[in-house]
């Protein structure tokens, strides 16, 4: 199963680091330098009405973002994703160099799956897999509904083999 992670960080060094860490886990990575670029990539920038959200050609299975960024912060990004009917089930992880309990709590309350303190370690990245597995499952179900296909009857079962499915023609 291939996973695609969107990494968001305004620091070029941290972008390089997170990209390398994610790639060692064999994830596909798109790294962007701002919250605005992330919103653009996710198709959340132009339309206010999330019901007419344009499906991206590339599926994103997890978003990992820095907290402190100019203009659109990681927290803003998290909220926008959770407010979007189409994207709310994509797991979001926040990274921050500052260990502020209220910040961590706010992010987790808003729906972030994890909060990593920087510098991010391999052991942190190893924690992403279960979130990715769950996220992939849910978005596949959603796409099935949009395409008016039968919903997946089973998704993940450790004992049986996973169901095989073809690439979807995504709704424009």
């Amino acid at each position: 199963m291939e996973f695609h992670v969107l990494a968001v960080d305004d620091s070029i060094i941290d972008r390089k680091l997170i990209e390398r860490l994610l790639k060692t886990s064999s994830y596909q990575v798109t790294a962007v330098e701002s919250g605005v670029k992330a919103l653009e990539f996710l198709g959340l920038l132009d339309d206010e009405n999330t019901n007419t959200h344009v499906q991206k050609a590339v599926e994103v299975n997890l978003i990992i973002t820095d907290y402190s960024m100019p203009s659109v912060t990681g927290y803003d990004l998290l909220r926008k994703i959770k407010e979007s009917a189409m994207l709310k089930d994509i797991p979001v992880v926040i990274m921050s160099s500052e260990n502020i309990p209220s910040r961590i709590n706010n992010c987790l309350e808003q729906g972030a799956e994890e909060f990593f303190l920087k510098p991010v370690q391999q052991s942190d990245v190893n924690k992403l897999r279960p979130h990715l597995m769950r996220g992939k499952c849910r978005t596949q179900n959603q796409q099935n509904i949009i395409n008016k296909r039968k919903p997946l009857e089973e998704c993940l079962s450790p004992d049986r083999t996973r169901p095989r499915f073809n690439d979807f023609e995504l709704v424009q």
Partner: protein, 150 residues
């Protein structure tokens, strides 16, 4: 010089850097492998470029008639982050001290902090450049860069 000797020099030199570079640098070295043989070099190069840009911005900002302490704090915060990501602990600590003085909004104190940060940066830069040179020598002699005990 023989590969053995170069590798020993490399390990000795790396060990001597423990005051300047913390465990995070070791993590970076672990991320380097045959598929990414230049990883450390690339990250360190980015760090040099980024640092020099921030130091210039800080110098300019402290030279202004009306010093914008919020902006300075933002720059120092950035520098603290990048130095932390590379393991340059003395630079990071100098940035933490700098941020405390920013709160006090004392221009002279901030200028002194900037000098301190600059000094620490130049020190770690020299060390990193020497380390990378040793790596190049090992590779040129046909050897592999020895892995360190984490």
């Amino acid at each position: 010089m023989e590969v053995d000797q170069l590798q020993r020099s490399f390990l000795e030199y790396t060990n001597s850097l423990f005051r300047f570079l913390d465990g995070q640098f070791g993590q970076l070295q672990l991320l380097q492998d045959e598929s990414n043989p230049e990883f450390v070099f690339e990250v360190v190069s980015l760090f040099f470029e980024d640092s020099e840009r921030i130091l210039n911005d800080l110098t300019l900002a402290l030279d202004q008639q009306n010093v914008d302490f919020k902006k300075i704090d933002a720059h120092v915060h950035q520098f603290k982050g990048s130095s932390s990501s590379i393991g340059a602990q003395r630079v990071r600590n100098a940035c933490i001290a700098f941020r405390n003085f920013c709160e006090g909004q004392n221009v002279e104190a901030c200028r002194r902090c900037l000098q301190q940060v600059k000094q620490e940066y130049l020190l770690v830069k020299t060390k990193l450049e020497a380390l990378l040179r040793l790596e190049q020598q090992i590779l040129a002699a046909g050897g592999v860069i020895p892995m360190l005990d984490s």
